[in-house]
Subunit: 156 residues, 2 copies
């Protein structure tokens, strides 16, 4: 079921994650969104970072989308689409559950563990999306404390 992903398809899927990020931003939260697509291209789940909204530090964009997808027998052939390069927590999720591919909106503001994921055999698609960069840059400039908390940076 694993197929080549066209850039057009990747960008169409990214739009879902961007919608989630925008929703998060409008709620006053960290603007990171994600969506999990099945091997056949169906949307399994979508979500966004909910640290601020729910006081839930475990709700990153990717884990929210994964959670929304509910129980799955296999993740073979699935694609996790995220507006921002996944952190180690979300990279661990991808590796443990055998998610096949990760589409990344941007990795300019945050690199995360994408190189490690690629070494683990996960297919990485980087889109360098301008809107994703702008959303994160503006949020980080306005709320550096929340952003640092979201990635466990505690340099005082």
């Amino acid at each position: 079921m694993h197929r080549e992903l066209s850039e057009e398809q990747a960008r169409a899927w990214l739009a879902t994650a961007v919608e989630e990020a925008r929703t998060g931003l409008s709620e006053g939260g960290v603007p990171i969104g994600a969506a999990l697509y099945g091997a056949d291209g169906t949307l399994l789940g979508r979500g966004h970072n909910r640290r601020v909204q729910d006081g839930d530090p475990s709700a990153h964009g990717e884990t929210s989308a994964f959670r929304a997808a509910g129980r799955q027998r296999t993740y073979r052939g699935t694609t996790m689409v995220t507006t921002l390069s996944p952190c180690w927590y979300c990279c661990g999720l991808v590796k443990q559950f055998g998610i096949t591919r990760v589409v990344i909106g941007e990795s300019t503001t945050f690199e995360g563990g994408q190189e490690w994921l690629a070494e683990q055999g996960v297919e990485i698609v980087r889109l360098d999306d301008a809107e994703c960069v702008t959303m994160m840059e503006e949020f980080i400039a306005a709320h550096p404390d929340v952003w640092n908390e979201d990635i466990g940076e505690d340099e005082d």
Copy 2:
């Protein structure tokens, strides 16, 4: 604030995680529990795997305890105590948020990413607890499908 952990203290903390695992088992769920302790030894959060109970694949023992602890400015000096060696998803959580130490009830039934965590500088304390082993062995024998699903194993 980082102090040596005595085996007595580690086993006392593990008892909290074991209580969580037993609760999960009594609910019909995967019997894995965890607790997050602060640098000063206070209990920050506790929880257990809730895949079956909530239909939530993101709720591993460690992520449930992390979630229950709510937002934290830093995880420096904290200890994640878990009945079972953490999977890659939960290892990623520990690395990303800078959790200092992981106390592991058992790693006989599942090895997870503990060696990688140790390489990342996380202090690993292995307790080889007999009750933790028995709970997992019995659960895996009775519900191999649920266990495989919980760690993303889909060998058919």
